[in-house]
Amino acid sequence: MISTLILGIALLIIGFYAMLTQKNLIKIVIGFSIADTGTHIIIVSLGYLRGKTAPIIDNAVNAVNAVQEVVDPIPSALVLTAIVIGLAVTAVMLSFIVEMYKKNKSLSIDDYQELKW
């Protein structure tokens, strides 16, 4: 659990680092995506219990004593929703970039600062 947690946090930091340093709009969104993935890994790692299996009741898991055999199912359920939402946000961001490029022929965030103060 600890190693995946560290991996998640590392991805989160890398993602933010990319968002703060990359000038290219698409790279910023990639940074966001990496951070998002980091978040998802953190979520999953928090629900992980050593030696337990996936929280799906089928042949491998007996429905009666499922509680003893599976990892915490709630983070797994949450992460699915979070992934979907992350996908939607990323898609909207990318579609914005497409429109921005069409209007302005530039992908550098520095070219979009006429609104200020």
């Binding site: 989160l12 933010f16 968002m19 703060l20 000038k23 709009l25 910023i28 966001f32 951070a35 998002d36 978040t39 953190i42 979520i43 928090l46 709630i74 983070p75 949450l78 929703t81 979070a82 939402i85 939607a88 946000v89 909207v92 961001m93 914005f96 970039i97 429109e99 921005m100 209007k103 302005n104 965030i109 520095d110 979009y112 600062q113 006429e114 609104l115 200020k116 103060w117």
Partner: protein, 1041 residues
């Protein structure tokens, strides 16, 4: 009853169906779309009604057939229903506003809009943290997409910045949610409390709360929001400012119980800092929508702070503060954003176009007044209660920030308002008709603002109708505004008489009666001068009546709040009256800023004052039983002295008096200033019974003395007749303040005597000058001269009045001077008496100038054909003259009642023997003085008539034919810059230091605002950095481990 979960179901269902049914035609899809939005409003209205009036318990909705925490549950209580009713109503109205857009655009916009409203509803009702995240994302994604309803380079880049910032915030929110689950094993708010988190677990609530907080746009991590406010379509941005903020603000309210109190304090302070700084930065803003953005951000900061700092007060007060701030912001901000979409002008200075649509202009004014927290709108009551809460909790840093921030906000909002009303660049452009769909929402919210204010006054404070009368006066006159001005004038006169008749029995005390005479009878006589108005004067009489009724309401106010309400109504109405003057933009703004600063001080002063024990009649009567703490006295005194134009805070006075219309000036000068005197007397009455260790009134006395001196000097150097009179008023009220500050019997008798005298002669003088201005069309005295031949009646008024001012026998001023010097000497204030004596000498300079330059000397060529002032100006002048003559001839008429008034508070120090007033130091018989003076005058007069020789008249400017003709011959005359030699002798002393001081205060605040707003570089990446750094800083400040 229909469950509110149907809001979510209907929105989703119709949202999905829209793309299909749209194929059958936009009409059908629009019907479904507006149907859902209306359904939401009706449903919430019903629930709100049930919670408020039927007191039904909070509704809990379980989903998926399980009880929480197994399943997600929703809750709808009073708070939720209140927020959601107004959020849904705004949603519906904004959709109506966007009707034309929705008719043409792709159907996806309609779907997104429905999802946005659904997200807001879900966010407010859900009790599950993860579900909250989902709704937050639904709300955010649909908002992101809607920002480009109007697709342009600016909206795209603003929308992108918004998305990145929102994305970062929601990442933290998600992490917070998961960690909350990790540490507590629950996601349901019902199972969680601040105690659920151990030290390590605190990081989870920190992440959760900071993410919500970032969404609420704290300074300085909010640059992205400003760009959105500036660029996005007005209809959508009103939703972002109102619905999104309300929903997310409510999320913060819901997670507040999870936060330890140290977190909350830091968040509260961060909210206040946001309020202060965004309003400061707003000072430099000239783009209308960005300005509204600054104001929105500030208001949200204030609302958050209010949420946090009112947590421990009684619920009814808390609801009023939070509900009032919320409602006020919602109504006025949405209204202003919608107006921005109708006006379609980016720059504030181009908004003058609004004048071509009067109803919209009125609504604009309404929203500006509401947003500035002026009565009777909801924000006013909220602020009053909030200040009280902060004073009780001794949170002085927060209190100061709230007040300074509010003042900044008022400044930029009213700079905008006055420039819209008064902007002189003539554009004949007409504002295109907004169309029904755009106008309706604005009108509805305008009505809501009015209704909600009356609701608060009627049901929360249970005010008597008389307290609200000033507002009704405006409404009543606006109904008959199409009548000719004379008719309205006579009606107003009748209304004032009726009002006087009504409050007469309520004036139990002689002091009230005395001020009743000044306020009501003085005003009534001054109304006569307004009958000369030829044009229709729309709006004039409404605000005039509002002002006069507020004067009267000050007298009968029985609580601090009633007094303050009357005070604020007085300020608003007089501001609007001053604003009517031709070049009064700057003057009225200055007046409003100073008055509001004074009002804030009065509000704080009353908050410090102990509660009134019972309803023992008017405040002025029960105040003697109230032990005002020292800080309260000081703060109140400064507040009142701003209104009476004391030195240091007087710079509004000359401008306002001079630039107001000439028949308004007498009200402002002769009567309004006395309201400050009334306030100071009220303090004095409490001071007599409970004298604090520090002698405040000694220093107030000095301020009065200095005011008298500075006013007199400044008056002497004016070329403008009305400015001269204005400074003279300042000086005279300085005498009054100095006299009442003695807190002795004779001091008060002389203060009241002076006040009464000043009311009469200053009214007469201002009306006389109004007549002169009416005929000559100039206020510059050196452009006049010799008017004695043309306007003898006005001349006599001015002559008599200046005799009455200067204090030479035989007129009333002599008695005033005799009384005041006697009072000073018996009190032992010798130095003060000396300075005042000197000031009296200086006043001769300006008084002489007034009569010499205007009426004596030779007539200017251009004034050959002018006539005496109109009869409506002459009548009130001579009523006042009669008054002055009466009290000069028979001083007992006034000395006796004043003696009685002051005897209520002190032992009498004078005896009245027949016509003679006897004091410790000597005696004065006004009647005798009159006869002696008349004889002294009559003998040389007769002698001169007998000895009158041949006089030869010299033409005035014949010097100019000797050589070159000067551009403006008047300035070669002695009357121009008359006292240049004194000015020279005084050297640096005549520099307008006070003016310079306030100018630099203004400049500094603007420069600071300009400096801070540089953080908003416009670069999206910088904004992410701000957010990240902000989170880190808050992490450190809150000491999360």
């Amino acid at each position: 009853m229909v469950s509110p979960i149907y809001i979510l179901i209907m929105s989703l269902a119709v949202g999905f169906l829209l793309s299909i049914i749209d194929r059958a035609g936009r009409k059908i899809s629009l019907t479904a779309f507006y149907g859902v939005l209306t359904f939401n409003v009706v449903l919430m209205a019903n629930w709100l009604y049930r919670f408020v009036f039927l007191h039904v318990p909070t509704l809990v909705i379980n989903t998926a057939g399980f009880k929480a925490p197994i399943s997600i549950n929703l809750e709808l209580g009073l708070m939720e229903a209140f927020v959601l009713f107004f959020a849904n109503l705004s949603g519906l109205l904004a959709a109506v506003y966007l009707f034309k857009k929705f008719k043409e655009t792709q159907v996806s916009s309609l779907i997104l809009y429905l999802l946005l409203i659904m997200g807001a509803n879900g966010l407010v009702m859900t009790q599950d943290l993860f579900n909250m995240f989902v709704f937050l994302e639904i709300l955010s994604i649909s908002t992101f997409a809607l920002t480009v309803l109007k697709k342009s380079r600016e909206t795209l880049s603003a929308g992108f910045k918004y998305m990145i910032a929102g994305g970062v915030a929601s990442t933290f929110f998600l992490l917070g949610v998961v960690f909350v689950y990790y540490f507590t094993g629950s996601l349901n708010l019902g199972n969680l409390s601040a105690g659920s988190f151990t030290n390590v677990g605190l990081v989870s609530v920190f992440l959760l709360s900071i993410a919500v907080f970032i969404e609420l746009k704290p300074f300085p991590a909010n640059g992205w929001a400003l760009d959105v406010y500036q660029s996005v379509d007005s209809g959508i941005v009103s939703i972002i400012a109102v619905v999104n903020s309300a929903a997310i603000g409510f999320v913060f309210y819901k997670i507040m119980p999870l936060l330890p109190s140290e977190f909350l304090t830091v968040f509260g302070i961060a909210g206040i800092v946001t309020f202060l700084f965004s309003n400061m930065m707003g000072l430099k803003q000239d783009n209308a929508k960005r300005l509204l953005g600054y104001s929105s951000i500030g208001q949200m900061g204030l609302l958050l702070a209010a949420l946090i700092f009112t947590a421990n007060v009684q619920p009814s007060v808390r609801y009023l503060v939070i509900g009032g701030l919320f409602l006020n912001h919602l109504i006025s901000k949405a209204g202003l954003f919608w107006l921005a979409g109708i006006v379609k002008q980016d720059k504030i200075k181009d908004w003058g176009i609004l004048r071509s649509r009067k109803p919209l202009l009125v609504l604009f004014g309404l929203f500006i007044f509401a947003l500035s927290g002026l009565p009777p709108f909801a924000g006013f009551w909220a602020k009053w209660e909030f200040v009280k809460v902060l004073v009780d909790a001794k949170m002085f840093f927060v209190l100061t920030s709230v007040l300074v921030g509010s003042l900044f906000e008022l400044i930029f909002l009213f700079r905008w308002f006055t420039s819209v009303v008064k902007n002189t660049d003539e554009t004949n452009e007409q504002l295109a008709s907004p169309g029904k769909s755009k106008a309706t929402p604005v009108i509805v919210f305008g009505l809501m603002a009015v209704i909600s204010s009356f609701g608060i006054m009627r049901f929360f404070y249970e005010f008597n109708w008389i307290q609200v009368l000033p507002i009704f006066a405006v409404l009543a006159i606006s109904l008959i505004d199409s009548l000719p001005s004379k008719v309205k004038g006579f009606l107003s006169l009748a209304a004032v008489a009726g009002y006087g008749y009504y409050i007469y029995p309520l004036l139990e005390n002689n002091l009230q009666m005395f001020f009743g005479v000044i306020f009501i009878i003085g005003s009534a006589i001054n109304i006569i001068a307004t009958l000369n108005r030829k044009n229709q004067s729309r709006g004039f009489y409404g605000f005039l009546l509002m002002m006069i009724f507020s004067f009267g309401n000050l007298l009968i106010a029985s609580t601090y709040l009633e007094f303050f309400l009357a005070w604020e109504f007085m300020t608003i109405s007089s501001f609007l009256l001053i604003l009517r003057g031709q070049k009064a933009q700057r003057a009225s703004l200055l007046y409003l800023i100073f008055s509001t600063a004074g009002a804030y001080l009065i509000m704080v002063g009353f908050s410090f004052a102990p509660a009134l024990s019972s309803s023992g009649g008017a405040l002025i009567n029960v105040i003697e039983l109230v032990n005002l703490p020292l800080v309260s006295i000081i703060v109140l005194a400064i507040g009142f002295m701003i209104k009476s134009g004391s030195a240091g805070v007087h710079i509004w006075l000359p401008e306002a008096h001079a630039e107001a219309e000439s028949d308004v000036s007498p009200f402002i000068s002769a009567i309004l200033l006395k309201a400050g005197v009334f306030g100071l007397l009220m303090l004095g009455i409490s001071y007599i019974s409970f004298t604090p260790s520090f002698d405040v009134f000694y220093w107030i006395g000095w301020v009065g003395v200095i005011t008298a001196l500075i006013g007199a000097f400044m008056a002497s150097f004016q070329e403008d007749a009305k400015k001269l009179l204005a400074y003279s008023s300042m000086s005279q009220v300085g005498y009054v303040v100095a006299a009442l500050a003695m807190i002795t019997h004779l001091g008060w008798v002389s203060a009241l005597y002076l006040a009464f005298n000043h009311m009469m002669f200053k009214s007469a003088l201002f009306i006389a000058i109004a007549g002169v201005y009416y005929r000559t069309r100039t206020r510059k005295m050196y452009e006049m001269g010799g008017l004695i031949a043309k306007m003898p009646l006005s001349y006599i008024t001015v002559l008599m009045s200046i005799i009455a001012v200067s204090g030479v026998p035989p007129l009333s001023g002599f008695g005033a001077k005799w009384l005041i010097y006697t009072a000073f000497i018996t009190k032992g204030w010798y130095l003060q008496a000396g300075v005042l004596f000197f000031a009296s000498g200086v006043s001769f300079l300006y008084l002489y100038r007034l009569i010499h330059t205007i009426f004596l000397g030779q007539l200017k060529y251009e004034h050959q054909d002018i006539k005496e002032a109109p009869v409506w100006f002459i009548i009130p002048q001579y009523i006042f003259m009669a008054g002055i003559m009466a009290i000069s001839m028979f001083p007992n008429l006034i000395i006796k009642p004043l003696n009685v008034i002051a005897m209520k508070y002190f032992d009498s120090s004078i005896q009245i023997d027949g016509l003679t007033v006897i004091s410790e130091l000597g005696h004065w018989n006004g009647n005798l003085v009159m006869y002696v003076t008349m004889a002294v005058f009559a003998i040389p007069f007769i002698l001169l008539l007998v000895l009158k020789g041949k006089t030869q008249k010299v033409k005035q400017f014949n010097i100019v034919y000797a050589a070159e003709r000067p551009e403006s011959p008047q300035t070669t005359h002695v009357a121009h810059n008359m006292y240049a030699h004194f000015r020279k002798a005084l050297g640096k002393w005549t520099l307008p230091r006070v003016q310079l001081f306030w100018d630099s205060v203004a400049e500094w605040s603007h420069t600071l605002g300009g400096f801070f707003r540089r953080v908003y570089t416009g670069n999206g990446q910088t904004y992410i950095l701000h957010i990240v750094v902000y989170i880190v800083v808050m992490y450190v400040v809150m000491g999360v481990k």
